[in-house]
């Protein structure tokens, strides 16, 4: 299964959520691979705490590979190469967790050629042979990278894939997320041009809300009544807006609550962060855990 993670805008928490989903899915006993296709800023290495590739790799990164500069991209085994104590041993029962870092200073793809698509097809096909799940972090917004994976998936009809669109719970983000999917040059538009069936593609896209502050959240206890009433009104307005834009509950796969830890530092939330040091909220870890299950649960992906 291939999962493409995309967001309407930067700063939505796409990478941090994608990496946490990959991590949780590996803990659930599956072999997982994370591909940093965010060529503009490949920072997945930092989230996995692998300092050697914190900002991508100088040699044999994904960007080098797609440009044909190396026969295979470099692989980083997170369980052995992470600098973080809590990640450096593979927990019993966990599957493999492998990061394919982007190229340091690679820059966005400047053109989409047949060779580049061919290399992408070859890479994804091979990874699908050995990993239960491949999470591909596609950069924010409309990009050649998004077109690349849309073109590649047309050529691999037998390999299942799904898209996750990450957006924050604000007016602008809801509208932008809808536009990214259904707008001109959006995923459906471009996908159809490359030969995807639009209805089939639509069924493979779900939304994930990030940094969500629920009106009844514990963080809001100290607020004045007026503030709480205003937040509640905003929230229902947004729900109505989301429904109108096809970003509502039915198309939503999950939501990640606002967590102070993720506001300060993009990192994996381990059970230790929740239980021992207590710096992260249990709800956040549970939300990642839940999403990691839902991405492969067919009942959550039935036609809309």
């Amino acid at each position: 299964m291939l999962i493409f993670a995309i967001s309407d805008k930067g700063g939505t928490g796409r990478s941090v959520t994608g990496t946490n989903i990959a991590y949780r899915h590996a803990l659930q006993g599956n072999d997982v691979c994370y591909l940093d296709f965010d060529f503009g800023s490949p920072t997945a290495g930092a989230i996995f705490s692998v300092s050697a590739v914190a900002r991508g790799t100088r040699e044999n990164g994904l960007h080098h590979y797609l440009r044909g500069e190396c026969p295979l991209p470099r692989r980083v085994d997170v369980w052995t190469e992470s600098d973080r104590e809590g990640l450096r041993a593979r927990p019993p029962g966990a599957g493999r967790l492998v990061l394919l870092p982007g190229s340091e200073g690679g820059g966005e793809l400047s053109a989409l050629t047949d060779e580049v698509v061919g290399r992408c097809v070859q890479l994804l096909g091979r990874l699908d042979e050995e990993f239960d799940l491949c999470v591909v972090d596609v950069s924010a917004g409309r990009s050649f990278t998004a077109e690349l994976v849309l073109a590649a998936t047309v050529r691999m009809p037998a390999i299942p894939f799904r898209w996750l669109v990450f957006h924050r719970w604000t007016r602008q983000h809801i509208i932008a997320a809808d536009g990214l999917v259904t707008g001109a040059d959006g995923l459906l538009d471009v996908g159809t041009r490359f030969g995807h069936d639009p209805e089939d593609l639509r069924d493979r896209i779900r939304f994930v809300r990030t940094a969500v502050l629920e009106p009844d959240a514990a963080e809001l206890v100290g607020l004045r009544d007026e503030q709480r009433a205003w937040l509640s009104a905003c929230d229902s307005e947004l729900r109505e807006l989301a429904g109108r834009h096809g970003v509502g509950r039915t198309a939503m796969l999950g939501k990640i609550p606002l967590d102070p830890v993720l506001q300060w530092r993009e990192q994996l939330i381990t059970d230790e962060d929740v239980l021992a040091s207590k710096i992260a909220n249990a709800e956040t870890a549970a939300a990642f855990e839940d999403l990691a299950k839902k991405i492969v649960d067919d009942s959550a992906w039935e036609g809309l």
């Binding site: 190396c70 026969p71 295979l72 029962g93 699908d128 042979e129 050995e130 990993f131 239960d132 037998a158």
Partner: protein, 313 residues
Amino acid sequence: MLVMGEVHTGLLQNSGEISESTCRQVLALMAGETVRVSRRPIVHALSPERLTGVDCALPTASRSRVRGVGTVMSRCAVTGGRVAQGSSYVRVVRSEADRRLPWSHYLARPGVVEVLGKAKAADLAEGFTGDSAPGGTGGACLNLGAVSGRFLDLVQASPLLDRRAPFKIPRTSLRWVAETGEPSIRFTLHTEQERTLRLTHPGPFTPAVVDLCEDLATHDWLLTSLLVIVERARIGGTQGAQAVARLAPAIDHLMHLWMPAARVEEWLTPFWESLERRPGFSRQWRSLVDRVRDQVAMNTLALLNATAEAGRR
């Protein structure tokens, strides 16, 4: 001087094993050339051979620049309708000329790479199989693994396969060097997926040596994959029924494929026998297979007990 090759082995991307006739179609890489199939003791299909032209540096341990020009010989194989391989090799010889000749010269010598200038066989052999060898990512010099990998991709991308493989499992690569001399064999495990083989055989090189390397690669992959499946089952760490369910793919798809030295010519079988003594491929395989069967038997007993208990109540 020497022969070097690389075999990539993986699980055929299909839900079940494929029939002999499908094997023939999947491996028909070139129109007009037939696929060779042997049926006993296990169905083994071999594609026609294809050439890739190369003009590049050869890997050396001393890092001295050695240029080689010629063609790489490649082919694909499917064993038991289940295990797929991409295999490439080159016979490295000294060139009689000191410059590159017209391509017709090299095309008349399929699978031969001619070395321009000075080169020592030991330096090349060490460069190809040593620790500093061109791994999967090395780009600058002759990378037979990249060629073999691409041939394996060709098989896996066949429209006749449904790509719904019963389990996910990595490919393995076996990089080998064969020379003529006093018989010896050395098989080394590097990372989880990389192996090297140094072989010295009496008499001149024949394609039978390639068969031996491919046979070894098949069995090493089987053993590696069974180990992975047994590890995933977490015997003792989870409930019996769950462990058995995780072992099922091995029973369904792998355990009947073990046929060591089935396609190895008589004069090369001593090499297999020496590997059977140490490290003992079949010994480890049998112990794993027994372990899987014992788990199934124990689980059956537990189920029978439970049924009897329920009947008595």
